[in-house]
């Protein structure tokens, strides 16, 4: 069981990296009027066939060979459904996969979003060969982090040197605070 929504996001985005994605888009969107938190993780990886897709939400189905259970997707689904939200996966072989989760913000069983900046930072630092686009929206305000833009400006300087790592950390924390006013989701 995960303790933060952001850990579920990290786990499911790791699946995208294993699916040989070259681009992963993560959207976290809080709509306080509708009392919803929407999360989507979209990749251009190898996708799943119909059989895999039909079983992916089953904890006793996994493509892994080291053990017989796969709990990543079921954990995420359970976290969303237990708030009265919804969960859905679309996938096409050779095109990619999209995971949608909708949480009821005010529900007592909604786990905290947690350290989402750390999740995004970990993904960017550990997967230099994959491009990430991260959108964080809180009601009408939003910010976007796009590693393609960053790489273009940096022109060959990697994202995991100390100066750039520090910049990315500050970019995430300053902009998040400006978008949500420091509210704890």
């Amino acid at each position: 069981m995960m303790t933060e929504i952001s850990l579920n996001i990290l786990d499911v985005a790791e699946n995208s990296t294993h699916a040989k994605a070259s681009f992963v888009e993560i959207t976290v969107c809080a709509d306080t009027k509708a009392d919803r938190l929407y999360v989507t993780i979209r990749d251009d990886g190898c996708g799943m066939n119909e059989e895999q897709l039909a079983h992916v939400e089953d904890p006793f189905f996994t493509t892994r060979t080291t053990r017989k259970v796969g709990l990543g997707v079921p954990f995420f689904k359970q976290a969303a459904l237990s708030t009265g939200g919804s969960f859905h996966i679309d996938s096409k072989v050779n095109e990619g996969t999209v995971v949608y989760a909708e949480f009821v913000l005010d529900h007592i069983d909604r786990m905290p979003l947690g350290d989402i900046n750390s999740t995004i930072y970990t993904l960017i630092q550990c997967h230099g060969d994959i491009d990430f686009r991260y959108v964080y929206r809180y009601d009408e305000r939003e910010f976007i982090l796009d590693t393609r833009q960053m790489k273009e400006i940096l022109g060959g300087i990697p994202l995991d040197i100390p100066e750039v790592s520090e910049y990315i950390r500050e970019y995430l924390s300053e902009n998040k605070r400006e978008v949500d006013g420091g509210v704890i989701l």
Binding site: D11, R64, S118, C126, G155, P162, E163, E170
Partner: protein, 124 residues
């Protein structure tokens, strides 16, 4: 809003100073398990602590990377250390504090911290 302008300044500053880091055979690899089991038991702060500290100390001979499930889920978070020419060392049930201690003692000073390794902790 923090803008992308600052990145241009970093580029100007770093231009020409970055050597290509080749993953050669003299490098030590530090691998953190980042599957569901690892993440659920706290691998994210372990990984970030290790990679930040390696960056901060300028340990260019060490690469911190991640892997999926190693198959020992009950021992997560797991950190494996692969030094060239040496046997793999598996640290289990790690946390950021233990990871820093391991970095200091093992990766910098060369003493394997057996109190946190798989063999020691499984002797029950």
């Amino acid at each position: 809003m923090k803008s992308l302008e600052e990145l241009k300044a970093i580029r100007e500053k770093m231009q020409g100073k970055i050597g290509y880091r080749s993953e050669d055979e003299s490098q030590t690899r530090v691998i953190v398990g980042m599957a569901t089991c690892g993440i659920a038991s706290g691998a994210r702060p372990v990984l970030n602590t290790l990679s930040d500290e390696v960056q901060k100390k300028g340990l260019t001979n060490i690469v911190v990377t991640q892997t999926g499930c190693i198959g020992l889920c009950q021992f997560e978070p797991i950190v494996e250390v692969l030094e060239p020419g040496k046997e793999k060392v598996t640290y289990v049930k790690m946390n950021p504090e233990k990871a820093l201690e391991m970095l200091e003692q093992h990766l910098i000073r060369g003493h394997v911290l057996t109190k946190y390794t798989l063999n020691e902790t499984t002797k029950l």
